[in-house]
């Protein structure tokens, strides 16, 4: 099984550690992981702004880069969802279509494809789990509070395998953090207010760390936490799952 690692543009540039942890985590599970060096971006920033028609070249690039892999795995629910819903290619239409069903967000790949039942990691802290909307409502990584349906959560299923971790409950389990791509600057006031409220929920419930399967939400919340000089930190789920044993 050959796994292609897709690292979203902003993780590549701002949060290389998240990508390193993702890679190491997959390697530890004995997987053969490749990283196509020519990757850039899934095209979502343009598409969500109404410019999907400009994403032709990023789409072609993506299709080219990941054509040879059995699975494509990414530490981002949002970018994964975008590829799943929108990737198409004029040069290799069949390949693009197939990639859409071969791409997985990291946690669902671990629970559904690899079916991991134990993780050697330790993280003795109180952690609040932020459900990113695209991961949760888009990829169905966890049950949504709006529905009348049985509960589950793939990220929490994995986190519960980590030594010493304490997952704290939130008052609003799955409210959006307000990042929303270009929304975060176009609708600055509401975006920030949503972020503040989300962060406050974690703090109120005694989180030491906020984690998520999407670094973009965390980057937004981190910006707010830092501005507030809060001791609470954000950490991508891959960083926790790859945290060393103590």
């Amino acid at each position: 099984m050959k796994v292609g690692l897709f690292v979203p543009c902003y993780i590549n540039q701002f949060y290389p550690k998240v990508a390193i942890d993702t890679l190491e985590l997959l390697e530890k599970l004995g997987l053969e992981v490749g990283y196509p060096l020519n990757q850039t971006c899934c095209g979502q920033p343009m598409a969500n702004s109404g410019y999907e028609h400009l994403t032709g070249s990023t789409n072609e690039l993506f299709t080219q880069n990941f054509a040879g892999y059995d699975y494509i795995v990414s530490p981002s629910g949002s970018c994964t969802l975008h590829i799943k819903d929108h990737l198409h290619s004029d040069k290799a239409p069949a390949e693009a279509k197939s990639i859409r069903s071969r791409i997985y967000e990291l946690t669902e790949f671990l629970t559904d494809v690899i079916k991991v039942d134990s993780i050697k990691a330790s993280f003795p802290y109180r952690v609040g789990v932020h459900q990113s909307c695209h991961g949760q409502r888009g990829l169905k990584l966890a049950q949504m509070t709006e529905l009348t349906a049985p509960a589950f959560s793939k990220p929490e299923q994995l986190l519960n395998m980590v030594d010493g971790i304490e997952l704290i409950p939130l008052t609003r389990a799955d409210e959006c953090c307000g990042f929303g791509g270009t929304f975060c600057v176009a609708e600055e006031a509401v975006s920030v207010k949503m972020g503040k409220d989300r962060v406050a929920d974690h703090i109120k419930n005694n989180a030491e760390y906020i984690t998520a399967a999407d670094m973009s939400c965390l980057m937004h919340m981190e910006g707010i936490l830092k501005r507030q000089n809060s001791p609470v930190k954000v950490m991508h789920i891959a960083e926790i799952l790859n945290a060393a044993m103590v």
């Binding site: 690292v7 543009c9 902003y10 590549n12 540039q13 701002f14 949060y15 290389p16 990508a19 890679l23 490749g34 990283y35 060096l37 020519n38 990757q39 850039t40 971006c41 095209g43 920033p45 343009m46 598409a47 969500n48 109404g50 410019y51 028609h53 400009l54 070249s57 990023t58 690039l61 909307c133 695209h134 409502r137 949504m144 509070t145 709006e146 529905l147 009348t148 609003r172 409210e175 959006c176 990042f179 929303g180 791509g181 929304f183 975060c184 600057v185 176009a186 609708e187 600055e188 006031a189 509401v190 975006s191 207010k193 949503m194 937004h220 981190e222 910006g223 707010i224 830092k226 501005r227």
Partner: protein, 460 residues
């Protein structure tokens, strides 16, 4: 506020008073929580939603025949039917009905359609006084504001402010803000209105093709008080209010109020089939852009809406920007997919007033794919040229950088062009990100840099 109304600017103004935003958010979240309790108590909730959705799909696909059937049955029941192509025709029809009877004062129960048509202003300009009888609507009417929510019209107002309005207009004691006392005052005031108005206008929640009857749902009983005491009952409906058969009400009435307020059903679900002896009953069937929307494949499903308001209560943006920031009769997520159909330029901002979190689609009792339609409207709006030049230039720049691995992979912190084009980190002096948030600290090198050093390096 800029000359052209814009959601972001209006929302920013709303957010100047953070305490008030918190209050607004909590009040609506409380309604969402009630909705959750009510819906989670119905084991077959999701099946009910799916069934309602299918019924509505059938209605949209057979609208022409159902309308003709409805019209025939309603006529046979003794109801007069009118058709209005747009808001102006609707308003003119109402006026002509009143004129014919020599009526210059009318009582009206909640009808978002008449808000859409700006009926009150029109009638006032033509010498007809209209009094809204739903408490929330009466309050915003006295305040000279539009409703900010389709189910909870004055949800943006604090009780102290309502107390001041009542003090000014209805003579309550200064500083009185007890909801009990204010409601009792409105009851007395409006009772006099009900007893003296010869015409009543109501909305329509459901119209039944099979029987020619229509159903109006209220908690206050104001639609019934108006209609049963008036000589003339006018009911205004968008044509999408149709459902095929009476038994389908069982599905919709189970969903509507649980979704709206968390009640198991509204206090009154009134079925109007025939006028009472001596009474005139009129139905005005309104198009006003709906037939165009019906032809938009990606957006026609918005016509399934039963106006429960659940998508507003759950919307994290609506709760923190207020209904008036949408500058349209129907606010919130559903308003943002309906309004561009009527005027793409004027409402070009609305589909962007969302994080696309998808909560709206999940609560929607008729399963409208609201957030997908918001995404699709964005594409349509940009393609039709209603985006700004700066934004287009920015997007093109971003596309250029992201389409070229060579540019994207320039290494070194200073030289890394990509940092400038990371979507939300658009690097200019006025970066709105930085106003209330710190930027992430760019590390020395990218992951790609690290990978080249630490792994053999997958060839492209």
């Amino acid at each position: 506020m800029s000359a052209v109304k814009d959601h972001a600017a209006l929302a920013q103004a709303f957010n100047k008073d953070e305490k008030r935003v918190d209050w607004h958010d909590e009040t609506l979240w409380f309604v969402r929580a009630k909705r959750d309790r009510a819906s989670h108590g119905i084991p077959d909730w999701e099946l009910l939603r799916e069934t309602a959705s299918q019924i509505k799909h059938n209605v949209l696909s057979n609208m022409h025949d159902y309308l003709v059937q409805f019209e025939g049955n309603a006529l046979a029941n003794g109801i007069k039917i009118h058709w209005a192509a747009d808001a102006a025709e609707h308003n003119a029809i109402v006026l002509s009905i009143l004129k014919e009877k020599g009526i210059d004062r009318m009582v009206k129960s909640k009808s978002m359609l008449t808000e859409e048509c700006h009926l009150n202003d029109f009638l006032q300009d033509n010498g007809v006084e209209v009094i809204d009888s739903d408490l929330g609507e009466r309050i915003v009417q006295l305040a000279k504001e539009p409703p900010s929510h389709i189910v909870l019209p004055c949800i943006h107002k604090k009780k102290e402010e309502i107390g001041d309005i009542f003090h000014e207009h209805l003579g309550t004691a200064a500083g009185e803000s007890d909801p009990q006392i204010l409601t009792e005052t409105a009851r007395q005031h409006l009772r006099e209105v009900f007893l003296t108005r010869r015409a009543a206008l109501t909305g329509v929640n459901f119209a039944i093709a099979e029987t020619g009857e229509f159903v109006v749902c209220t908690n206050e009983g104001n639609a019934d008080m108006g209609a049963h005491l008036a000589d003339v009952h006018i009911a205004s409906m968008g044509f999408e209010k149709l459902i095929p058969q009476r038994k389908h009400l069982s599905v919709f009435l189970r969903l509507l109020t649980r979704s709206a307020t968390g009640q198991p059903i509204t206090t009154y679900s009134s079925h109007f089939k025939k006028p009472r002896p001596g009474q005139q009953m009129h139905i005005i069937i309104v198009d006003n852009g709906r037939s165009i929307q019906l032809g938009r494949e990606d957006f026609r499903n918005s016509l399934k809406c039963i106006r429960c308001g659940a998508c507003m209560n759950t919307c994290p943006v609506y709760r923190r920007s207020g209904g008036h920031s949408y500058h349209t009769a129907v606010a919130g997520p559903i308003g943002s997919i309906l309004a561009p159909n009527l005027d793409m330029k004027k409402y070009a901002d609305l589909p962007f007033a969302s994080t696309l979190c998808g909560s709206c689609s999940n609560v929607c009792p008729v399963k409208i794919d609201i957030h997908d339609q918001l995404y699709k409207w964005r594409q349509v709006i940009v393609k039709n040229g209603y985006s700004t030049k700066t934004k287009t230039a920015m997007m093109k720049g971003m596309t250029l950088a992201l389409s070229s691995p060579a540019i994207f992979n320039i290494s070194g912190k200073a030289g890394r062009l990509a940092l400038k084009f990371i979507p939300f980190a658009v690097n200019n002096g006025l970066n709105p990100w930085y106003k209330q948030r710190d930027m992430p600290t760019p590390p020395e090198g990218s992951f790609t840099d690290w990978y080249k050093k630490n792994r053999k390096g997958e060839q492209p």
